[in-house]
Symmetry: C2
Subunit: 343 residues, 2 copies
DNA sequence: AATGCCTCTGCAAACGTTTTCATCGAACAT
DNA sequence: ATGTTCGATGAAAACGTTTGCAGAGGCATT
């Protein structure tokens, strides 16, 4: 961090007090409980604040109060349609309750996560949300040592060390697969998302494969692949798979980005969708409904997860004694659009 | 904000000092300039910290030092491919210099912006980056009153109150349009992005129209429309425009999202791209190269803008005396892909 | 007039760091 | 033996708020 800065000295509560002819205590009361200050005094303070351009020092306040008004969010990356939606909703919900979001990204490297947690704790976040259920030991340890209110977003499962708000990604993988099976598909190519440090992808995969097993359909190794989170890369992968024979009749895509790549691959090869090939995605990213044909996908309510996560944390802060668990399992649904059809 | 929380009392520097049998001053020195502390003492402090799970209190440090190690970023919204990329790069660059990003979004409502600035200043950000050149008076006022190092990202122009790092969006609009003109197009439909609180869109529009004027081509009102930032909405708009006669031979899209909508509209109508219609976008969002056919677009280096913005702010913090202006105009280039062709 | 209550305000002690200055030994040169 | 320098540490004063406690004055009740 920087050395001590000697900048134009910023006006503090004492300057305001002096100018308004009152004590600092009164100014403080003015900004925290205005109604206890006499009208006339209030006016004087107001104009003093106006004149000096006074903005209270959050660090001092935070030091005194033991709460910073800041809540942390740790995501794999911001630069991803779906986490961006989540973060935006989270931030908006916090703003509504006059708190601020401190966001940090670890780039799917869970070992870096505990460093971020520590950094956020150093900034004295009042509460913390993380994406996913899987975390390294230090992360859990530091969190419980401090007993900072924390939630895990995105993935839902029972009996977790912290409340979860999200969907059951095994269910997500399952319903997507079942949809294809119901349409009569037997030869399905599975393009899973990368699974390093990504328990959502792991769960989807396990849900998908168990649905196949339940239907008694074998999934040979050649029908399982892992695609990066990138339209172009997924497209190339799909092109390769679609030019080999025999060609699958359907493709399960671990997320909508991969599904888009598949769609474009099919277009470039002149394969008609859904006549020659069914494609299903996961996520319902913005734009997935607009692509031609519309992408059938499993909707994951990212915004709602973000909003509820924020609200629940605030609730935990405001009623710290409440012994209720705050888990929330959100429903998933298959959005039927044009990219899947009966075989 | 919350009332005073009475939580498990968190260990402070004094607890560490007591446990290690030294004074708080020594512990402080340990974490700031470890080399001045005797090896043996250092070891004792280390194990005390370990045992207590001590994490320094940023608020106290910030209060004392007058610097928080936090840098603010204000964007219209996080939930937008391009700003997410920017924010991610910004955050990463800050992290590399051990600072943290505090991000806030105003949803294209510039009047809300000054509230956010104030909130960030209350959190004592050491510096601030905002997107765009156009801001309400209070925003500028509060910033210059405090003389907090600030930069304006995304849009570049000379003689601005704060350093700009970005591209000249008039140039962006111009080169996109010139590309279409060079290909022989005369009847071009312009789908601009919404311009409320969005000076980037305003500039692109003005660049585009002036390029047309320079080429002596008239653009009737019916060939100018404004599209929301949404694939589906842009698609509907484009469908309407493409079913009317006469049909334009090319469409200028204010950004890649709109361009995607146009592409899908054309597909759904059986209009061949680029044979029957040329489409150009702006931004080079991820995935724009993978769509079929590849989208010709004007590349805007969002990541680089984010990274440079962060680096420049840090530079301004570390050498506050340097009188050099830190503006940076980044180059733009037309990426030729499959969606445009000679008429 | 004395008493009590209420409203508004001030005093001063925290909160957890960093940093200047001073102190104390030890090592070293004279 | 005496002075000098150096390295390692401690004491204490900030930094800018919030808040419990108490005091001052006004008003109503006895």
């Amino acid at each position: 961090m920087a050395r001590r800065l000697l900048r134009k000295s910023i006006p503090g509560i004492i300057d305001v007090a002096r100018l308004a002819g009152v004590s600092p205590a009164t100014v403080s009361r003015y900004s925290n409980q205005p109604d206890v200050v006499r009208y006339e005094t209030r006016k004087r303070i107001e104009s003093a604040i106006e004149e000096l351009g006074y903005v209270p020092n959050g660090a001092a306040r935070s030091l005194n109060m033991g709460a910073s008004g800041t809540i942390g969010l740790i995501v794999p990356t911001i630069d991803n349609a779906i986490f961006a939606e989540l973060a935006q909703a989270f931030s908006t919900a916090l703003f509504r309750h006059s708190r601020t979001m401190l966001i940090a990204a670890h780039g799917y490297d869970l070992t870096r996560e505990s460093v971020l947690v520590e950094s956020l704790i150093e900034h004295r976040v009042d509460a913390l949300a993380v994406v996913g259920l899987k975390h390294e030991e230090p992360t859990f340890e530091i969190l419980s040592k401090r007993d900072i209110p924390a939630v895990m977003l995105w993935n839902y499962r029972e009996r977790q060390p912290f409340p979860c708000i999200g969907v059951d990604n095994r269910e997500v993988g399952r319903v997507a697969t079942e949809h294809l099976i119901e349409l009569g598909h037997r030869d399905i190519l599975f393009l899973f998302a990368g699974m390093r440090g990504n328990d959502r992808a792991v769960d989807r995969r396990s849900g998908a494969l168990s649905a196949m097993a339940a239907a008694g359909i074998d999934v040979p190794r050649a029908r399982r692949a892992i695609s990066p989170y990138d339209v172009q890369a997924a497209k190339e992968l799909a092109v390769k798979a679609l030019t080999a024979t025999p060609r699958p009749t359907a493709i399960f895509s671990g997320n909508d980005v991969i599904a888009l790549g598949v769609l474009f691959a099919a277009m470039s090869l002149g394969i008609r969708i859904p006549d020659d090939l069914s494609v299903i995605g996961i996520g319902d990213f913005r734009g997935s409904s607009a692509v031609e044909p519309g992408l059938t996908t499993v909707r994951i309510p990212a915004r709602r997860i973000g909003r509820r996560g924020a609200e629940i944390l605030i609730e935990m802060l405001d009623w710290p004694v409440a012994e209720t668990r705050h888990d929330e399992r959100l429903p998933v649904e298959v959005l039927l659009r044009g990219s899947t059809a009966q075989i």
